[in-house]
């Protein structure tokens, strides 16, 4: 008798565990308290508010460096996930092994340009990345962050990345 395919829910739980491991493996992401929510292949970065994220205490506003870091973290995790997703689908990468600590190499930032549209308020922030070019060696990513209103981002950024070498590259 043929083996029954695994229930989709089990596959999803494995992928969530793999994503958690990817994020938890980076000390700086933990330091800022950033986490990721997954809906299928779409990721949203969440930056829960903490007092230590403030730059200007008079306004008060999030530090510009925090905004930039949140956007860059979201771009890197979003780009990594977009690269991993098809390899999970094809079975080339095992989500269980990844969840257990066999983490993939991350893309390296070449440059990152942040546009500060309005000041970041002292509350939670969200961000989503869009990979606009995804080559074997280079990738371009647009990323946007908002707080109360998705239609009124407080910052967006554009970054270029060098992709980690994949098996078979020479």
């Amino acid at each position: 008798m043929a083996r029954r395919p695994e229930p989709v829910q089990v596959v999803k739980q494995r992928r969530d565990a793999a994503l958690d491991a990817l994020v938890a493996g980076v000390p700086y992401i933990r330091f800022l308290g950033i986490r990721f929510e997954r809906r299928g292949d779409e990721l949203t970065g969440v930056l829960p508010y903490q007092d230590m994220l403030i730059g200007n205490p008079v306004l008060p506003a999030l530090h510009g460096g925090v905004t930039s870091a949140f956007l860059e973290v979201t771009a890197i995790v979003g780009l990594s996930w977009s690269m991993l997703w098809p390899r999970f689908e094809s079975g080339e990468i095992d989500a269980v092994a990844m969840a257990e600590g066999q983490l993939p190499r991350l893309p390296k930032t070449v440059d990152f340009t942040v546009d500060y549209l309005r000041s970041g308020l002292p509350r939670d922030a969200y961000a989503r990345a869009e990979v606009t070019r995804s080559g074997r060696r280079y990738a371009s990513v647009l990323v946007e962050a908002w707080q109360d209103n998705r239609g009124r981002p407080f910052a967006h950024a554009m970054g270029h990345f060098v992709m980690p070498p994949q098996e078979g590259d020479r």
């Binding site: 493996g25 980076v26 000390p27 700086y28 992401i29 933990r30 330091f31 800022l32 007092d51 230590m52 994220l53 403030i54 730059g55 200007n56 205490p57 506003a61 999030l62 530090h63 510009g64 460096g65 925090v66 930039s68 870091a69 949140f70 860059e72 973290v73 983490l103 190499r105 991350l106 390296k108 930032t109 070449v110 440059d111 990152f112 340009t113 942040v114 546009d115 500060y116 000041s119």
Partner: protein, 140 residues
């Protein structure tokens, strides 16, 4: 403005920023429209666990803070400034364990905008880790 006053303003500027404190960013030198700041190596700020290299985001915070201080100490003495845009180029990974030092210069200022450039290195000024350029708002 004399050197002592400029230094005091810049020192207060940094100490008033909770996130700069969280990263232990310190002011090393202040000029007239220029600043030098240091970010000590900290395992909590690592972006690549395999190599121990600091995350670009921490370097961004150092650059942004240093550029803001360069604007504040410009002879035109703006009262308030905020980042309009900042571009960072990462030339090479910073050496794990090394303090990163950024030097920023506000090279031009209009009534409404300040233009700033910065370079970050981890010991050898001839081999920068990153460069930055940006525009800042000016008011007051």
């Amino acid at each position: 403005m004399d050197e002592a006053t400029r230094r005091r303003i810049a020192q207060q500027f940094i100490e008033a920023l909770p996130h700069a404190r969280a990263l232990s960013i310190r002011l090393e030198e202040i000029g007239s429209g220029s600043a030098r700041m240091a970010l000590p190596y900290d395992a909590r700020l690592v972006g690549d666990p395999e190599t121990g290299v600091l995350h670009g985001g921490a370097v961004s915070t150092l650059m942004d803070t240093c550029c803001g201080a360069a604007v504040m100490t410009h002879p035109d003495a703006p009262r308030v400034t905020a980042t309009l845009d900042l571009r960072i180029e990462y030339m090479r990974p910073a050496t794990p364990g090394q303090t990163i030092t950024a030097e920023a210069t506000c090279h031009h200022m209009t009534r409404s905008v300040a233009f700033v450039r910065a370079v970050a290195s981890d010991g050898d000024p001839d081999r920068p880790v990153a460069t930055a350029s940006g525009a800042f708002t000016v008011s007051g």
